[in-house]
């Protein structure tokens, strides 16, 4: 039994088909990279699994249809870092991270029975937010906010992480740090990651598996090296992906040699 099994997933708004019959599965220990050009429907897959959009088809987690999971139980198992987290109110970083523990404690009145404070402290430390702990989220930079919600996700501590462009607003230092962090997190038993990334080199470097989408349909699915083969990518992106990357890389080396 797979950890997550998606079968014939379709999503449409009126006549507009976002996803058509997408199927894939995720096993423990896997890091599935969902890749593809803009508008391929990558984010919609994550939103369907988190029950944020209506879909047809079946999504089964741990042998049970996700529609039959209670929201709180599901949140203990699947967590989503979504891409746009615009803030309206001046919650502090800590308050946002604390919300990640929602699924762990039954009611507003129950105390810290489950190591809530430690989990929050650890999540804040992991994402390097100690100095911003009591700062209003309205004054954070895009990257800081991104890390805040990542910390929330770590505090939530699910077994399947879903990340939509997790390093979108992050500089290189944090980009590397976050990806390494997640790779390390993944080493523990029974965990898996599904993430949407644009950067194909990141996908190749960190992913174990990949799902290549184009216009809402599956183009390829399997081990990351197979899916990111030049032929497939060139077709989907309608350009020579590999030589473009090589060109970019060569400029770096050129500059290096000139100095």
């Amino acid at each position: 039994m797979s950890m997550l099994e998606v079968k014939d997933l379709s999503v449409s708004y009126g006549d507009l088909h976002i996803l058509r019959d997408v199927s894939f599965s995720v096993e423990p220990g896997q890091w599935l990279m969902i890749i593809g050009p803009n508008g391929a429907g990558k984010t919609t897959i994550l939103n369907s699994i988190s029950r944020g959009v209506p879909y047809t088809g079946t999504i089964v987690y741990q042998g049970r249809d996700i529609r039959r999971w209670k929201p709180r139980e599901l949140a203990l198992n699947i967590g989503l870092l979504s891409q746009n987290n615009s803030m309206g109110y001046a919650f502090t970083v800590e308050e946002i991270v604390r919300l990640g523990r929602y699924a762990h404690s039954a009611s507003v009145l129950s105390g810290d029975k489950d190591g809530r404070e430690e989990a929050i402290d650890r999540a804040i430390a992991l994402t390097g937010l100690e100095g911003l702990r009591n700062q209003s989220s309205l004054t954070l930079s895009g990257g800081e906010l991104q890390r805040t919600f990542l910390a929330q996700l770590f505090a939530q501590d699910p077994r399947l992480l879903m990340l939509d462009e997790p390093t979108n607003h992050l500089d290189l230092v944090y980009q590397k740090q976050v990806f390494n962090l997640i790779r390390e997190w993944l080493t523990e038993n029974g965990r898996a990651v599904v993430s949407v990334v644009h950067d194909l080199s990141l996908a190749r470097a960190y992913g174990t598996h990949a799902l290549l989408l184009s216009k809402g349909r599956t183009v390829a699915e399997g081990p990351v090296s197979e899916v990111t083969a030049p032929k497939l990518l060139n077709e989907v992106y309608s350009m020579d992906v590999y030589s473009w990357m090589r060109e970019m890389y060569s400029q770096w080396t050129d500059e290096d040699s000139s100095t």
Partner: protein, 348 residues
């Protein structure tokens, strides 16, 4: 930024609670002592003490003014203020929109419409004098909320601030016009349009106080227990879903509680604008957006705000009464601007 690495407890500090618990009765006491008829302070205190002790006060001069008129009125002001303020805070969190409130979304107007229809068409519940208007007010408040939200979802699924306020204002005008229509057709029975547009706390007795109190304890209690869920909604509805909040159920629960509270308040006190908008906003500037603090403090702040507004309504033009809605709007907007400016200056 200098950081003091302290661990704050999420709820209110005991001291803060005590402060509010002290200020609220002080304001209550002030409002009972001051009024359109001057009653010597000593008499007032003695009357209250006697009444609490249960001794016979029927012969004393100001007994009926203090015990039968002023105290129930101040109590209803406190309870209506607390309820409306809590509703405002709840909706502002739920919709992630600081401008949401019973009056801006047209919920109060809808409740008025329900009450006016009940009166115009003689809808009553046998043996329960207020029940007919109250049930209709609650029902219409809830229907109003459903209509506004489904319209807003239809037009803009992200429920952006502007869409929902625009729809709320339009809906509010639409409902008010129907109310006027009903009043025009049933003009014999309902002449009291200022009551439905500006509100009045006159003539509230202990029965009203009990009803308000019951509604606040039950529905307000439920809202207070949803502080964490409201935090999640205030961060974002998607985020709430991601962390495991049962989004549909919580939204429905809050909407029902808000409708019920607003319905009860409107059928007893008429439409009193601005309380639900201003007090939570002021409170948020003082204690921050965390609903674990915001909700309870809003309850107290709303009670204090409306007690003081009602005091102004009672004494400013003595012996005339000002419509309470006029006072809340005036005080509310001035205080609002003041706090807004000073809040800005601090730079948070």
């Amino acid at each position: 930024m200098a950081q003091i690495p302290h661990k704050r407890k999420e709820g209110l500090y005991v001291l803060e609670y005590l402060a509010f618990l002290a200020v609220t009765p002080a304001v209550f006491f002030l409002c009972v002592c001051v009024g359109s008829v001057k009653v010597p302070l000593g008499d007032t205190v003695r009357l209250i003490l006697d009444a609490i002790r249960g001794s016979d006060i029927s012969g004393i001069k100001f007994a009926s003014i203090i015990v039968s008129v002023r105290i129930p009125r101040v109590l209803s002001a406190a309870l209506v203020g607390a309820s409306l303020s809590l509703c405002g805070a709840g909706m502002q969190g739920l919709l992630k929109n600081p401008l949401a409130d019973g009056s801006t979304l047209g919920v109060s107007s809808a409740a008025s419409l329900g009450a006016v229809i009940a009166i115009a068409f003689g809808i009553t519940v046998p043996f329960l004098p207020f029940a007919g208007t109250m049930i209709m007010a609650i029902l219409f408040a809830f229907l109003g909320l459903l209509i506004i939200l489904s319209l807003a979802y239809k037009l803009d699924s992200s429920l952006s601030t502007n869409t929902i306020i625009l729809i709320g204002v339009i809906f509010s005008m639409f409902v008010s016009s129907i109310t006027s229509l009903v009043i025009t057709f049933a003009s014999d029975k309902i002449k009291h349009i200022t009551f439905w547009t500006m509100g009045s706390l006159q003539g509230n007795n202990y029965t009203h106080v009990l009803i308000l109190c019951g509604a606040l304890v039950i529905f307000g209690g439920v809202i207070l227990l949803h502080a964490r869920e409201l935090n999640a909604f205030a961060v974002g509805e998607d985020n709430a879903r991601n962390i495991g909040v049962n989004v549909r159920r919580v939204r429905l629960t809050i909407l029902i509680c808000v409708s019920a509270l607003i319905g009860v308040c409107v059928s007893i006190g008429g439409t009193i604008a601005f309380v639900g908008l201003v007090t939570p906003h002021m409170t948020r500037i003082i204690v921050g957006p965390n609903h674990k603090k915001l909700l309870p403090v809003s309850v107290f702040a709303g009670a204090i705000f409306l007690m003081l507004s009602d005091l102004a309504a009672r004494i400013l033009l003595n012996p005339l009464e000002l419509p309470i809605g006029v006072v809340t709007s005036m005080i509310g907007s001035v205080v609002f601007i003041y706090i807004f400016i000073t809040g800005r200056r601090k730079g948070k």
